[in-house]
């Protein structure tokens, strides 16, 4: 009987230096898959390598031998001569491995719980495995279930709903104020790394037009070019305020750059169109009293941090719900795994045939009513022996493959051909 085994390290078990060893070479995955494909012991394999995790998922007969093989493989790939790195590895077997895969795919095992990138990375790793032909019946099924679980977790819980980075939080707030950002104009004052990151997020979310203001015009021109924006000087800010909608500020200035009066003066000319200020600078660039004005919204760095922190808190709560979904799916997967043996498949085949016979006799009961009991019995025996003849060869074939490593594939095909998983699939 083959077993699923998962070996790897993540941000919790291994320091970055160690993960780097394995993740630095983009060809690592390909090499790992090729090695595992050529190893007799390992029947199916997949290899996932991201900046926060490196892990191998294999299906093998003997767990300990598979462990040796994978550990050696990792040691070779990372040029790690001594085996001390094994202290940083985790090892999950059977259903525990299934659970682990589901949790990783649903981003429950991520550094930032709920971050969406991991699913894409797993999909890529799986694609690689299918290309290298290292995945088989079990991994295929496991991966498809994992994608399904990830989708359920995403739609049924609020785990990836709330923004946990400051730029995302700012974009979300802007959407809550303006509904959509298409056609809105932004002004970037000063040029800190964080402000530029936020500006990039705004551009990605529909902002098309941007102006960049800076103390030195050269720097403004430089940043403006990067964004395809126009450069303006600090003195022009009051005029800019007449037609921009979003202001991102992060100057090194020790004094307030935008005063309450400056904003108040422009409101009427703007016909009260909402203005959204994001002040990432410390000390602050924008007079906090600006927030008291109607249709003006000001968020400083602490406000944004407050939001992301409470969102993180919410994610942790939602994670509980997600764990329950994972458990449910692990149970379903276990049920399917158990059907991957000869006897249950033969039983289901017989049951299916019996159900069809009963169903058809039922349907024809009107026509059969006129027959004598003896004739009826003859019809039943006839239909039963036809059905048995039809399934006899597949059953003999499966029994003949019982000890072969290719068995799961044939069982899987049988179950698909005869549609035996109707009940297992239902959800």
């Amino acid at each position: 009987m083959s077993i699923i085994l998962n070996i790897g390290m993540n941000h919790q078990t291994a320091p970055i230096e160690l993960r780097e060893c394995l993740a630095s070479d983009p060809m690592t995955t390909k090499k790992a898959l090729a090695t595992m494909r050529d190893t007799e012991e390992i029947k199916e394999a997949m290899f996932l390598s991201t900046c926060n995790r490196v892990e191998a998922l294999v299906v093998a007969e003997h767990m300990d031998r598979a462990w040796e093989i994978v550990v050696n493989l990792m040691g070779n790939l990372g040029n790690m001569g001594d085996r001390s790195f094994t202290d940083h590895l985790y090892r999950h077997e059977g259903l525990q491995a299934v659970r682990h895969v589901f949790r990783v795919a649903s981003s429950l095992d991520s550094m930032v719980v709920g971050e969406p990138q991991i699913l894409g990375q797993i999909k890529a790793a799986y694609l690689e495995a299918t290309k290298e032909k290292t995945s088989g019946v079990i991994i295929n099924r496991l991966m498809h279930r994992a994608f399904h679980v990830a989708k359920r977790v995403r739609t049924e819980t609020g785990i990836s709903e709330a923004a946990v980075s400051i730029s995302y939080a700012a974009v979300e707030l802007a959407k809550k104020i303006f509904h959509e950002l298409e056609g809105k104009k932004a002004l970037l004052i000063g040029a800190g790394e964080m402000a530029e990151l936020a500006a990039r997020h705004f551009m990605a979310n529909g902002i098309r037009s941007m102006a960049v203001a800076n103390r030195t015009l050269e720097r403004a021109v430089e940043v403006a070019q990067e964004f395809g924006a126009t450069a303006v000087s600090l003195q022009e800010i009051p005029y800019q305020l007449l037609d921009v909608d979003i202001v991102l500020s992060s100057t090194a200035s020790s004094e307030v750059v935008i005063t309450r009066d400056m904003v108040k003066a422009c409101l009427r000319k703007r016909r009260n169109r909402p203005l959204f200020f994001i002040d990432i600078a410390v000390p602050r660039d924008i007079d906090p009293r600006v927030n008291e004005l109607n249709n003006v919204f000001l968020f400083d760095i602490d406000d944004l941090k407050g939001i992301t922190e409470s969102n993180l808190e919410q994610r942790r709560k939602e994670a509980g719900k997600a764990e329950r979904i994972v458990e449910e799916e692990v149970i379903k997967f276990d049920r399917w795994l158990k059907t991957l043996a000869v006897v249950p498949t033969i039983v289901s085949l017989r049951e299916k045939a019996e159900a069809i016979i009963r169903g058809e006799l039922e349907r024809s009961s009107g026509v059969l009513a006129s027959l004598s009991p003896r004739q009826k019995e003859a019809v039943e025996i006839l239909s039963r022996s036809i059905a048995e003849k039809i399934i006899n060869d597949p059953i003999l074939f499966l029994k003949g493959k019982a000890d072969r490593p290719t068995l799961p594939t044939y069982l899987d095909i049988t179950r698909k051909l005869f549609n035996l998983d109707e009940n297992v699939e239902k959800e």
Binding site: F178, H179, P274, N291
Partner: protein, 279 residues
């Protein structure tokens, strides 16, 4: 038979309301879809009920307070369904459905009036008067709801306390444009309603205007909304101020509809319409 459509509609409204409340708590789209269908079904039966009543009476069936509540409920749902097509605002349903249901419940507690009515009520002017006034009022009712939601949402953003309801509410821009659109469509309806009403009064009572309490309060309501419209279009009011003003306007409107209609007497009040003292 006719009244069974009324109660069927009422039951369906109640179910829809329950569904919308569940939707706002659980945030599952299918709950919303089912509730919306219940609301549409309720609306269909309600329309059927009003149609049969109108056919039986030979005029628009809004001559007593019971029918007025029911017709107002119908108008609010109609306007919501139209708004839903435009803005796809699911959350608003959770506020509109209870209001419509409440109006229906109030209506259901009242007695059925006797059915015979005088020929004076069978006038096209009266029909236009009532339909435009009620649709206008329904638009303002939705403006009012949107304004309240706007203020809640704006307060949460300003104070940076984004509560659990925050994620469920529509954006400020959307709420403000509901305010804008319902004002732009509601105000002309209100105006047409008042003009046709006064023409109808001239034809039946011989005078356009007779300082009846409801007439006076309607004019006051109209002036309030005119002021809001003016501020919005020429001065550029929006957001918080416009929301507060439309809440005040709606309070005046409610007083005109219920207060002036019930307690202040006059030929226009529903009590007197039912007894047909005036005509």
């Amino acid at each position: 038979m006719v009244s069974s459509f009324f109660y069927l509609a009422l039951v369906l409204y109640l179910i829809a309301t329950g569904g919308f409340v569940v939707f706002i708590i659980r945030q599952e789209k299918w709950v919303f879809r089912i509730s919306l269908w219940f609301l549409i079904a309720a609306f269909a039966f309600h329309t059927l009920f009003l149609g049969i009543r109108a056919y039986g009476l030979g005029t628009i069936p809004v001559l007593d307070l019971k029918s007025a509540f029911s017709f107002f409920s119908w108008s609010v749902v109609l306007i919501y369904l139209i708004f839903y097509r435009k803005f796809r605002l699911m959350v608003l349903g959770a506020f509109v459905a209870p209001v419509a249901t409440l109006l229906m419940v109030v209506s259901s507690t009242m007695r059925w009036p006797e059915t015979a009515i005088g020929p004076a009520f069978k006038s096209a002017w009266l029909v236009v008067h009532i339909i435009t006034i009620f649709l206008g009022d329904a638009l303002f009712a939705i403006t009012f709801i949107a304004a309240v939601v706007y203020l809640v949402q704006e307060r949460q953003i300003k104070t940076k306390r984004l509560g659990s309801i925050y994620r469920r509410l529509p954006s400020l821009a959307t709420l403000d444009s509901i305010n804008h659109y319902s004002l732009i469509y509601g105000f002309p309806l209100l105006t047409i309603g008042m003009i046709t009403g006064s023409i109808y009064a001239q034809l039946n009572l011989g005078t356009y205007w007779q300082w009846d309490p409801k007439e006076v309060w309607s004019l006051i309501t109209w002036l309030f909304y005119a002021a809001l419209l003016h501020e919005r279009l020429t001065v550029g009011w929006r957001g918080r101020r416009a929301a507060i003003m439309s809440i005040i306007c709606f309070a005046v409107l409610l007083f005109t509809f219920i207060g002036a209609g019930l307690w202040m007497g006059g030929y226009h009040s529903f009590g007197n319409l039912g007894l047909r003292k005036a005509l």
